[in-house]
Each structure stands twice: as structure tokens, then as C-alpha cells.
Amino acid sequence: MNPDAVFIAVLVAAALAVTLGVALGWAAARIEPDADSLVARIDALLPQTQCGQCQYPGCRPYAAAIASGAAEIDRCPPGGEVTVRALAALLDRAPRPLDPAFGVTKPAQVAWIDEEKCIGCARCLPACPVDAIVGASRQMHTVIAAQCTGCELCLPPCPVDCIELRPAMVVSLRYRQPRAA
């Protein structure tokens, strides 16, 4: 094979790669912002506890419901008044008190497993929305405090009630402090 052919081959492959790269970059910049930017901005204000107290499976579905008008902004107890005010500012609506039907605001908390009592049944693992519980069947479980959002979803499945919630010592990596817009 002569050197020219190799040169052309490399040139063609490189040209294709660059063309695809530019086209994809353009598509990403073009398609991303307008499709669900409102949902994304609402989602960014929610605390990301994924606790489901709003009766939606997680924060993003709740954000989608707010954006479509299916749900009011007063359904997020972990976010509290701060989040309601931030959402009201974002959506240009009047702030309203939190609806007590969906729970009350509590200080930041993390789950803690009493390892003496844990029987290693692994039932709390699928319940955790953020995969913060480490453990396997017949092995003692433990909670990664930095990942835990304190959502309390692991309490009902536990057959021996060995999980309790304690005040958060470290701020969770997942949990976003409620903040103003």
C-alpha cells in the first residue's frame, strides 16, 4: 500500500469523526434547552430526597407535575417553606403554606442501622431511592451517611425495626439544602 492511500484513509476517518462531533455538539446545544428546561429548573430547586411524600415517585416526576400544572407547589415537606418560596418565585405564583396532608418539615436527618439487631434480610435495599444502604443477604447492613437523604422509605420494610433516623452530622452529598431562587 502506498503512503498516499494511508494518508487518504486517515483523512477520511478523521473528517468523519470531526463532522459527527460537530453535528452532535450542535444537536446537543440545540435540542437540550427548550424541551424540558422548566422541569429541570424546578427539579433543581427540589431537595432531591426522593422521599415520595408528594405522592410522586421522586423529585423529577414531581417537578414534571408542577410544570404541567397537575400538582401544587406545597407538597414538599423536606424542602419546607424555603422551597415553596423559591418555587413560587420561579413560577411567578403566590407563595402558600405547606400542605400538612403531605407531612411536616423536619431537620436534616440520616438513617442509622442498629447493627446488633439487623438480621441481614436485605429488604431495605430496594426501598432506598439513592442506594445508600450497603449490605447483602445474611450480611449486616450499614448506611452511607453521605448518600442518605433521610427519606424514611427504609423504615416500613424492616421486619425488626432496627433502622432509626438521627440528626445529620454531615450534610448529605445528595441532599440539596433548601435555598432561595
Binding site: I8, A13, L20, R60
Partner: protein, 193 residues
């Protein structure tokens, strides 16, 4: 017209890519647990297959052949498929974030779905024209989707079936896939290519 119809029938049923050519088995096993995910995967693969077979034909016909670079086809097609898949991912993420989450890693893995590269290479080998390539790609995608959806519904039933301990999970899924492949062999009697 009859020619195209036979081609479509052949690619989707008689020579079904999953069940008689055994291409694209990883998503076939991997995304067949839940119907919603499988339906999304089937649509995404159909989209990618159609676009990728059209584009790869264009690239072959108007770039690789004139320049005498036929030996580069595998590399170039993979690059092209990766680009189309990435584009599909951007589209899915923008239109349905939930589906994007549901498909997870399997969406980018369409790149390594051998059915996609297989269709692109078969188009070239059989000297299909542009229209034929598009029809072949789309019907291969439809055949893949059909097999995937049928298999998913079977697997959802298997979840509640009383399967012997040793066969639970992947083994019984593979046995089922084998039985489905046997059933699809029946289409060979249709006599289409």
C-alpha cells in the same frame, strides 16, 4: 415493490436478526425484564437501525467506493453508528427523561448491538440500493423489536411461574429464547429471502 416487500418480510421474520442470525443478543437478554423498557428499546433500535443503514449506504456509495477505501468499512460504520446512537440518546433525553432513565446503560450500548453493524455490512455485501438499504434496516429493526417484545411478555410470565430452582433467572430465559427461535424457524417455509 414485491421485491421490497419480500426483502422486508425476509429481514423481519424469516431471517429474524435475533432469532435466526443470533445478532443483538445482549439487549435481547438485558432489556427484556420490563415491558416499558423493552418497548422503548425496540423503538430506539428501530430508529438507529433505519438511520444508520441509510447513512452507511450513503457513506459507502459516495465516499468509500470512489476513494477505494472499501477496507475501512468496519471502522467507519462503527464510528457512524456511534454518532447516530449518541444523537438518539440526546433525542430521548430531551423528549422523555423517564425513558432515558429506564433504558440506562442499554441506550449507549446500541452502539455495540451487533445487529446494527450487521445490517450495515449486509447491505454492502448484498449490494442494496438506498431504498433497499432503508427498507432492510427498518424491517430488521422491526423484527428485532417484535422478538424483543414477545420475549419480554414471556419473561414477565416466567417471573410468576413455578420454575425449578436450578433454572430460575437467566437459564430459563435462554431456554425460552431457544424455543422462540425454533418457532421462528417455521417462517422459513414462507420462502422469502
Amino acid at each position: 415493490m414485491t421485491e421490497l416487500l419480500l426483502l422486508a418480510l425476509g429481514a423481519s421474520l424469516v431471517n429474524n436478526f435475533v432469532l435466526s442470525n443470533f445478532l443483538g443478543l445482549c439487549p435481547f437478554i438485558g432489556v427484556s425484564r420490563r415491558f416499558e423498557a423493552a418497548a422503548g428499546m425496540a423503538l430506539a433500535t428501530l430508529f438507529v437501525l433505519t438511520i444508520a443503514s441509510g447513512l452507511s449506504f450513503a457513506l459507502w456509495q459516495w465516499v468509500l467506493v470512489p476513494l477505494g477505501l472499501e477496507y475501512l468499512r468496519t471502522l467507519v460504520f462503527i464510528l457512524l453508528i456511534a454518532g447516530v446512537v449518541q444523537f438518539t440518546e440526546i433525542m430521548v433525553r430531551a423528549t422523555s427523561p423517564l425513558l432515558h432513565q429506564l433504558l440506562g446503560i442499554f441506550l449507549p450500548l446500541i452502539t455495540t448491538n451487533c445487529a446494527v453493524l450487521g445490517v450495515a455490512l449486509l447491505n454492502v455485501d448484498r449490494q442494496h440500493g438506498l431504498l433497499e438499504s432503508l427498507v432492510f434496516g427498518a424491517s430488521a429493526g422491526a423484527g428485532f423489536g417484535l422478538a424483543l417484545l414477545l420475549f419480554t411478555t414471556l419473561r414477565e410470565r416466567l417471573d410468576t411461574a413455578d420454575v425449578p430452582q436450578a433454572f430460575r433467572g437467566a437459564p430459563v430465559a435462554l431456554v425460552t429464547a431457544g424455543l422462540m427461535a425454533l418457532a421462528f424457524m417455521g417462517f422459513a417455509g414462507l420462502g422469502a429471502r
